[in-house]
């Protein structure tokens, strides 16, 4: 049953509250609703909307007028069935309907903020587990104009939420701390995200909820994230994309140490040497390019900012690097900080020539 009532929405006076399942409701941010309606009316060339809306401007009291606008847009939001796709995506996940009490749909500030989150409030006496949980979805209102694309996007997002609620997945909100510091924590997060996304879209493809081309996109990302897997990339990728049951622990374990995980495979081709972590300071072997989170071969610090194409560095800089690191080749990569250091080294040398003799060492 679909009912529409008002309820309090964070940061605004009214929100539309829909309930299609017992105990579960969706609350819509009025600002999101209004913007979505205005864009939909324009795109669909809806008749009769403007005349009705224009009359609301005659209401003198600002608060009354604002309330009237919100109610008006809410009615049109329902009439144009703009929320239907979101409802559908949610209803496809019984775990969400059973284990949360509400979904709050709000406007994303920017496209990078779009997505779904699970919110859990602190435990309170007499408050059930499900009542503490709610789903937050942030979207750009223009998204609602393209229902097919939106559904694909939402299915991916809500499957993340479903995994988080699934006891067999065993989700933990925090990843283990990386001993090597914040750069590695970010690396772990990136790897975890890639693995989880891969696993989710694999499941969506098998349900025909995502196009098969998704596989190629994820394999490309997987390749960039786990270049150390070499010729075993496809096999490892398939392990996640084609898996039916994976747990949070599986993802964390692989993300933390992909090499150790793969050595546990029974395939005799897997060996430590295949997946050796590069010790970039001593080796001159040609190797694949470095990736975010790896160590710069010059300074040895983990970094996310490598020079995009070291071959294009000026020849005098390349020569200066080679003078200090004879085994280094541009294909081994260099971080931006080291490149800056070598770029400015002629000036440092020139400055040193003018320094007092006792300061030269």
């Amino acid at each position: 049953m679909n009912t529409a009532t008002r309820s309090t929405f964070p940061n605004s006076k009214f929100a539309i509250r829909n309930s299609k399942s017992d105990g579960f409701c969706v609350e819509w941010d009025p600002r999101f609703v209004e913007e979505a309606v205005l864009r939909a009316v324009e795109a669909r060339r809806v008749q009769g909307f403007r005349g009705e809306r224009n009359r609301l401007y005659e209401i003198q009291d600002p608060e009354e007028r604002d309330a009237a606008f919100r109610e008006f847009h809410a009615v049109w939001f329902e009439r144009l069935n703009l929320g239907g796709v979101i409802w559908r995506a949610l209803q496809e996940q019984p775990l969400i309907l059973a284990n949360t009490r509400a979904c709050i749909v709000a406007q994303a500030r920017a496209s990078r903020d779009e997505g779904a989150e699970l919110f859990v409030s602190p435990a309170g006496e007499g408050v059930g587990e499900a009542d503490r949980r709610s789903v937050g979805i942030r979207l750009g209102p223009q998204r609602l104009l393209d229902a097919d694309h939106l559904l694909t996007f939402l299915r991916h997002e809500v499957l993340h939420i479903a995994d988080m609620l699934d006891p067999t997945f065993g989700y933990e909100p925090r990843l283990p701390r990386a001993e090597l510091g914040p750069a590695h924590e970010r690396l772990l997060q990136d790897r975890y995200r890639v693995l989880w996304d891969t696993s989710i879209d694999g499941r969506l493809v098998r349900r025909n909820w995502a196009p098969p081309s998704v596989r190629d996109r994820h394999f490309h990302e997987f390749t960039k994230t786990f270049p150390m897997l070499g010729e075993r990339l496809e096999e490892a990728f398939s392990h996640f994309f084609d898996a039916t049951t994976l747990t949070h622990a599986d993802l964390v374990s692989f993300a933390s140490n992909p090499l150790a995980f793969l050595t546990s495979f029974s395939d005799p081709h897997f060996s430590n040497s295949t997946f050796e972590i590069r010790n970039s300071k001593s080796s001159a072997d040609p190797r694949p390019p470095l990736h975010a989170g790896e160590r710069c071969p010059l300074c040895g610090f983990p970094t996310h900012a490598f020079v995009p194409n070291p071959n294009r560095l000026p020849s005098e800089i390349l020569a200066r690097i080679r003078a200090d690191f004879p085994a280094w080749t541009p294909s081994r990569g260099v971080c931006l900080q080291c490149a800056d250091l070598y770029r400015s080294s002629p000036r440092s040398d020139a400055g040193a020539a003018f320094a007092p003799a006792d300061s030269k060492r």
């Binding site: 750009g140 000026p314 490149a339």
Partner: protein
């Protein structure tokens, strides 16, 4: 659609309404070569007009770093892209620069935003445009100070990139307000006729009682200077500080006064005025009006994106270090001549450039009194002479506003002064 004359395009064009010209037109010249992007103009406007709830994202006056910056984000790239689609054969100019005030820049042969019928969606739309998303309004000063280097070279600026005539590593600051266009796209697009152009000064205003928030003006204005206010559900735009123009602002002392953004300009890049118009919309001969001189005599000031077709009344002295193809796209075919003249100014131009920001009152006329030669030398292979001429500015009723000289007066502070230690 009516046929209206557009002297900036050197031809007639189509426009939804018949041409109607004010007695005088609000206009301004910005000298980009002087702008330091201090944002004093931006804040002067903000603190005067857009400081209320619901106006947080509104910056009627802004300064953006070109080529990457823009408020809203990429506004000019987006509208140029639409215009390119409307002109698949390429928007182009023909003819030559001339002294003809009906077409000083030659003729624009492409379609304007009013003439791109086949691109309009829905068909009933009158103007080619787009509605920026909230995200695009969110970062008013995005890409500040981001320069362009050589194509294909990353993290490396050209070694001699700072040398004229054209810098190989460059950016510049583009200060913008509403252009109070002769053919406003916002006015053309408003389904409720809530936007009007004042007959006395050509200032374009949105009637706040009539606006019903269709946002067609926001969509249509190619410069994106009409903005929607979410809490009132009404669009707003620059009002050209009209109480100051009318001399009714308490600060005006009854005299026509320049806008807040002009008066606040630290870099002295701005001059604003009210130019007389002919019946065909061209500027009436007014030889000693400084704006007339800069636009039609010295021809150093050019309209911003004249190819849009709105006949904007904001004129810019283009930045002399920027690659010319970029500037030609932005200011039309007059760029090379404008820069050449600005770099090698004659005696009168040097004097007129001293008028910028010596007073907050609108200058209606200037007069030059010749002074002695104070410098002779060579600059970029040319003989240069500098004269310490005096330039006198007059107000609406012919009263002298101020007089200044080419050589800046030197004031020697007395040994004992207000904050002596």
């Amino acid at each position: 659609m009516a046929r209206v004359p557009n002297w900036q395009l050197g031809r007639e064009m189509t426009y939804p309404y018949e041409a109607a010209f004010p007695e005088r037109q609000f206009a301004f010249v910005f000298n980009i070569n002087r702008c330091i992007a201090c944002q004093s103009c931006t804040m002067a406007c903000k603190s005067t007009w857009t400081f209320s709830k619901g106006q947080e994202h509104m910056w009627w006056a802004n300064v953006e770093t070109k080529p990457y910056g823009g408020y809203p984000m990429f506004w000019d790239m987006k509208i140029l892209e639409l215009l390119e689609q409307a002109n698949p054969e390429g928007p182009s100019w023909s003819g030559k620069l001339s002294d003809d005030r009906q077409g000083p820049y030659g003729q624009f042969d492409g379609r304007t935003i009013f003439e791109a019928e086949r691109m309009l969606t829905p068909d009933s739309a009158r103007v080619l445009g787009y509605l920026p998303t909230d995200e695009e309004w969110n970062s008013p000063n995005i890409y500040e100070d981001n320069p362009v280097g050589e194509r294909g070279k990353f993290f490396e600026w050209h070694k001699t990139g700072e040398q004229l005539p054209v810098h190989k590593t460059w950016f510049f600051y583009l200060a913008r307000i509403c252009n109070h266009c002769t053919y406003p796209a916002c006015l053309a697009a408003c389904p409720r006729k809530a936007i009007y152009k004042r007959p006395e000064d050509g200032i374009v205003l949105i009637d706040q009682q009539e606006c019903r928030g269709y946002r067609k003006c926001v969509e249509a204005c190619p410069y994106k200077k009409s903005m929607y206010r979410g809490n009132t559900r009404i669009s707003e735009k620059c009002v050209a500080c009209y109480p100051r123009i009318e001399g009714r602002d308490p600060e005006s002392q009854g005299k026509p006064t320049e806008t807040r953004c002009m008066a606040a300009c630290i870099g002295q890049i701005r001059m604003q005025g009210l130019v007389k118009l002919n019946r065909d919309g061209t500027w009436a001969e007014d030889r000693y009006n400084p704006l007339y001189y800069l636009v039609h005599v010295a021809k150093v000031a050019l309209p911003l994106y004249p190819q849009f077709g709105t006949a904007p009344n904001g004129y810019y002295i283009p930045p002399r270090w920027v690659p010319r193809d970029y500037l030609r796209q932005m200011f039309g075919p007059g760029v090379d001549q404008a820069i050449e003249r600005y770099e090698n100014p004659d005696r009168e131009l040097v004097a007129v450039l001293q008028l910028f920001r010596r007073s907050k009152f609108i200058i209606y006329r200037y007069e030059m009194k010749e002074g002695p030669k104070v410098y002779e030398g060579t600059l970029r292979g040319r003989r240069v002479s500098l004269y310490n001429d005096t330039v006198i500015a007059y107000g609406k009723d012919g009263e002298e506003l101020f007089r200044t000289t080419v050589e800046e007066p030197i004031h020697v502070r007395p040994a004992i002064h207000a904050n002596s230690i």
